[in-house]
Amino acid sequence: MNSETGHAAAVPAAVPRAADRVAASLKRRYAAERRFRACGLAAVCFAVFCLGVLLFTVFRTAIPAFTQTMIELEVTLYPQEIDPAGTRTADAISTADYQKLIRDALDDLFPDISDRRQRRELMALLSPGATYTLRDTVMADPGLIGRRITVRVPFADDVDQFAKGRFDAAADAASRPLSDKQIEWFQRLEQRGLVHHDFNTTLFTAGDSRSPELAGIWGALVGTFWTMLVTMAISFPLAIGAAVYLEEFAPKNRWTALIEVNINNLAAVPSIVFGLLGLAVFLNVFGLPRSAPLVGGLVLALMTLPIIIIASRAALKAVPPSIREAALGVGASKVQTVFHHVVPLAMPGMLTGAILGMAHALGETAPLLMIGMVAFIVDIPGSPLSAATVMPVQIYLWSDSPERAFVERSAAAIVILLGFLVVMNLVAVVLRRRFERKW
């Protein structure tokens, strides 16, 4: 009896109904799903956190670079100093000794300092660019000569760093770039209200300089513009042409397969190799000018070609075959089918690929080092053939400089470069949205 009831109870336990088994497994399945979701969420959170830390650090370092500490000086423009002959020619005005005028104006503020060494130390508070600022002011309006004018000229980078609290006046004098005297003079200027914290326009209008307070990104930006122009002009038409031919017209045989494999391989070649190629071919064989955006653009075009080709081919592949059949069915030729229907439909994808390729090229440094675009270039490049550098190389150069003030300027340049990248990617997104069509 006992064994019988035991047996009867065991049967349903051994063979549960399918619905019960499903119900039992549901719990496990939901748990797995929750685990997976939690992992994904954690990964995303970690990535966002890292990105946040990175951006926060860069921005915090960069923000001081957008202001520059300036001194308000009252300068008397003695005619006998600037233009003793009274000719008022541009040549005479530009060669005058403005440094003396600045020195005199500064000495007027500190009549108590008479010692030569101390006066030299006092003059070191100002940037060497103060002279140029004054000269440019006078050159712009020669009518000022003989009058007493107020100009704002930049402090030297060390003073600027002190004003931004980068080092402490209480620290050991040997470990800081300013002497006790210089700090005291600066504080006296501050008390008289002659110290201003102005927006740093130099950063956006000047080329590179050895003095951080005179250095700007405009030269690198213009160099980047020329380089990108050359890259775009060469890589976009070539890549679209290659993609359309390979995808739509080329016979599918061993040769095209070989070409396809090699294009994919090229996309994975380290960029410095393209730089070496540019050095060997464009500079040494063709004798193109060193450091020129033309060569940089050519090298970057080679580098972005495979990226744009691959993206464009994917975009062409994504056009449904029904559209091709529809066009062929009404008697369109192959070329008409491709250029009236397939390419316009693939265009958003192609443009996205091109913009992402350009964004890639915009951030590229290594290949440009090989072709001499890493030089110290003060002048704003006037054409694709003049010596230039580009934004990422400028950042590389500045981050390598010993002056503290270049640290914040590197960060500022990074922020600006990131801004350009964000804008380019936004343009890619907008283009994709605008041209995207449903079928």
Partner: protein, 274 residues
């Protein structure tokens, strides 16, 4: 001068227009086989398609009826590895000869596909595209005429005349398919091939298209592939039954559906396989 004389010669060897009791032969298919790589998709097809009639091709999936249809306007040329053997004559001209330009052929033999596939452009542009690339209209006015006529023949004009500038992809499935028919008509073809034109449509839209096919028969030769035997019986005058790459039987639709010669046809029609 010599060339001209040759062209004018009345008994050119390609001129093999045949007529029979069923009417003028539009397409003459002799011994056609189709291979996809090593695989044979069609075996020795012998089939006549008569002018101003609807010929329905029926048969189970994968029997080769669509493949045959696509031979008639050389759409198979676009498939890599596809080879066609045998002869297909359109009004006595060999369409697979070197002299036949496939683009010209497709202008004469239009096609409507299984899934409505309007271009992602305006309704007007969809219909105007064919005439425009073939230079069928002298000016904008004539082009507009062609578009209106084609849409009217496809029975779509009343529904879309106020919104010709709107995208063709915004229409309903049945309207899209009629737009595709209008697009095919606009090129003024002699033959319209239809590859299961109603398989993606509901019964009302299907009825509308079937009505249309019957009207179009007056001016065009129509070949339609269909899975629906009722549809074949309703719209066609002649029917060909394909099975496993062979043409099993062909004849007048009434005869095929009521009194087939072959046992396999009988079995398929009565639903014993397929």
């Amino acid at each position: 001068m010599k060339m001209l004389q040759e062209d004018d010669a009345p008994d050119a060897p390609m001129e093999r227009v045949t007529t029979s009791a069923n009417g003028k032969v539009k397409f003459l298919t002799d011994n056609v086989s189709v291979f996809y790589g090593a695989k044979q998709a069609l075996k020795d097809i012998q089939l006549n398609i008569y002018a101003n009639q609807v010929t329905a091709l029926i048969g189970p999936s994968g029997c080769g009826k669509s493949t045959y249809l696509r031979c008639l306007n050389r759409m198979n040329d676009t498939i890599p590895g596809c080879r066609v053997a045998g002869t297909i004559l359109l009004d006595g001209e060999d369409i697979y000869s070197g002299e036949m330009d496939p683009v010209h052929l497709r202008a004469r033999v239009g096609m409507v596909f299984q899934k409505p596939n309007p271009f992602p452009k305006s309704i007007f542009e969809n219909v105007a595209y064919g005439p425009r690339i073939h230079g069928l209209a002298k000016d904008r006015q004539e082009l507009e005429m062609i578009v209106e006529n084609s849409l009217q023949k496809a029975g779509l004009w009343k529904e879309v005349q106020d919104r010709l500038a709107q995208p063709g992809t915004g229409l309903s499935g049945g309207q899209q398919q009629r737009l595709c028919i209008a697009r095919a008509i606009a090129v003024q073809p002699e033959v319209i091939l239809m590859d299961e034109p109603c398989s993606a449509l509901d019964p009302i839209a299907t009825a509308r298209i079937e009505e249309l096919i019957d009207e179009l028969r007056q001016n065009y030769t129509i070949v339609i592939v269909t899975h629906s035997m009722q549809q074949a019986a309703r719209v066609s005058q002649r029917t060909g039954f394909f099975h496993l790459g062979s043409l099993v039987e062909t004849g007048a639709t009434g005869q095929i559906f009521t009194n087939p010669v072959e046992q396999r046809t009988q079995d398929y029609i009565t639903g014993r396989f397929g």
